[in-house]
């Protein structure tokens, strides 16, 4: 601490080190949060269900997605990234996951929502296995923090199935 510049440098580096420790503690505090999210997805309509010229099945559906994800937000949350994926099994792949819709929720107030939408991304199978197939719709979320560790989890909703014939 022998001169103005020496003291200023010492103060700045020490304050930045302490800032890093504060951010680590803030991230650890996220573990204290016990979330209780809920979600429901209804398939209102299968708009069409065709076999493409290349031989792959494609389906377009309209869903009604409602969820309450407010308990996932903490003081250290920047935004919530959520997406809906359809999961099913085929002879070729033990697990197929097709992402149908996603959204970014920037604040806690917007985390309790209801949306009526068709699938944002095309639902195309690798092959033509979808007729009569049972599938799950899973709502995944990624809690993106302001600093530190990102948490990801999901809710699996079962009991959906495709029609037996093309429409």
């Amino acid at each position: 601490m022998h001169s103005f510049g020496y003291r200023l440098n010492g103060l700045l580096t020490f304050s930045l080190t302490i800032l890093a420790m504060m951010c680590a503690i803030a991230s650890l505090s996220d573990n204290l949060n016990t979330p209780s999210p809920s979600a429901e997805i209804q398939i209102m309509n299968i708009n069409w269900f065709q076999k493409q010229p290349q031989g792959n099945d494609e389906v377009s559906l309209t869903m009604n997605i409602s969820a309450d994800l407010q308990s996932l937000f903490t003081w250290n949350t920047k935004q919530l990234f959520i997406f809906v994926s359809a999961e099913y099994e085929t002879p070729k792949n033990s697990l197929n996951q097709v992402s149908l819709w996603d959204a970014i929720i920037p604040a806690k107030e917007h985390a309790k929502f209801w949306i009526h939408t068709s699938n944002k991304y095309r639902f195309v199978d690798q092959g033509n296995n979808l007729r009569g197939k049972e599938f799950n719709l899973t709502l995944h979320w990624h809690v993106m923090p302001k600093t530190g560790k990102m948490f990801a989890d999901k809710i699996v909703l079962t009991g959906y199935s495709f029609p037996e014939e093309y429409r």
């Binding site: 601490m1 022998h2 103005f4 003291r7 200023l8 010492g10 103060l11 020490f14 304050s15 302490i18 800032l19 420790m21 504060m22 503690i25 803030a26 505090s29 903490t74 003081w75 250290n76 302001k146």
Partner: protein, 91 residues
């Protein structure tokens, strides 16, 4: 600043930064606002800088008594004995 003042300045800086960090963390967590934590901490860093970095008079309470130039001339620096050393290195 004198030696005591330097030590005091360093101690004050470390303690103030730690105290402000703890206050900022607790306030941010309780208020649920990350922004409040950053604002409180930034204010604390600025305040600490204003108190500990400039050369305030209260850091100079135990000043060092440097010898007056007139006195220094009366007491010349001791001379090192050069001749015996030179003989040793030449061999």
């Amino acid at each position: 600043m004198d030696w005591q003042g330097q030590k005091l300045a360093e101690q004050i800086m470390q303690i103030m930064l730690l105290v402000f960090a703890v206050i900022a963390l607790v306030a941010g967590y309780v208020l649920g606002s990350f922004q409040m934590m950053m604002i409180i901490y930034a204010g604390g860093v600025t305040l600490t800088a204003l108190i500990t970095v400039p050369n305030w008079p209260f850091f100079n309470c135990h000043p060092l008594n440097w010898l007056d130039p007139n006195e220094a001339e009366k007491h010349p620096k001791p001379q090192v004995a050069v001749s015996s050393k030179k003989k040793g290195t030449k061999k």
